[in-house]
Amino acid sequence: MENKQSGLANPWIQLALSVAFVTAYEVLLKFGAIETANIANSGWSWTGLSGLASLYVWFAIPLVVLSLITWLHVLRHIALSIAFPISQVVHAFVPLASWIILGESINRLRGCGIALVLLGLAVVAKPVARLEERL
């Protein structure tokens, strides 16, 4: 694992940015999907291409590209089996953002699920954090 870069070049900073971009574009995509749900009844609707009729989707696309660029930087320096589970903090952030911004509900089961995701992240990230402290 090679991650001695400082500032924005640090792969852990890039990982955090990637998570922020993913959370933001998922919420924007949902706004776009809501807006275009009424035109999504054609035979090719499962491809999601009708979503391109929404401006929200076009706002989301640059964030998708940015998340990919930051993620590629992460992949250059951190093992996939470590980086990918940590990046899954979006599974806690996206439902929380959906609750705050879109008004979607979080019941007890969903809350437990989010808590387990965060616990799993802590288990994965702890040895990595220890390693970072030693370096």
């Binding site: 999601g48 996939l80 089996s81 439902p95 699920g113 995701v117 799993g120 994965v124 040895p127």
Partner: protein
């Protein structure tokens, strides 16, 4: 959830796993030979293609279901990618990493069930 949407979810899941593995491979090649060699371009292009397919399938699913319901299905990819990275890329899979990945996957399944 209808059978067709379940199949679409599975295809989206497979493209995420394959896409991440191929992109990681491309970046490993990039680290080894540098950007002046084009050896990394083929897996890189394939990875981008797979991620694009996944993007549009996900958008199609979002048009029908709540974001907080659909998105967590992709979470199953956590344990799948951890195992695939160990098998295909020969990354070290520790017990702690396995337990952590499994907890994340279970948590995501719970979120999906709610």
């Amino acid at each position: 959830m209808t059978p067709i949407s379940f199949v679409i979810v599975l295809i989206a899941l497979a493209t995420v796993v394959a896409g991440q593995l191929v992109l990681k491979k491309a970046m490993d090649i990039f680290n080894t030979v540098g950007h002046r060699h084009f050896d990394f371009l083929r897996p890189f292009a394939l990875g981008i293609f797979l991620m694009t397919v996944q993007f549009f399938l996900n958008l199609g699913l979002l048009q029908r279901y709540d974001l907080s319901f659909i998105y967590p299905f992709q979470g199953l990819s956590v344990i799948m990618i951890a195992i695939a990275a160990a098998v295909v890329l020969r990354e070290k899979l520790t017990m702690q990493l396995t337990i952590g990945s499994a907890l994340i996957s279970i948590g995501i399944v719970l979120v999906s069930m709610s």
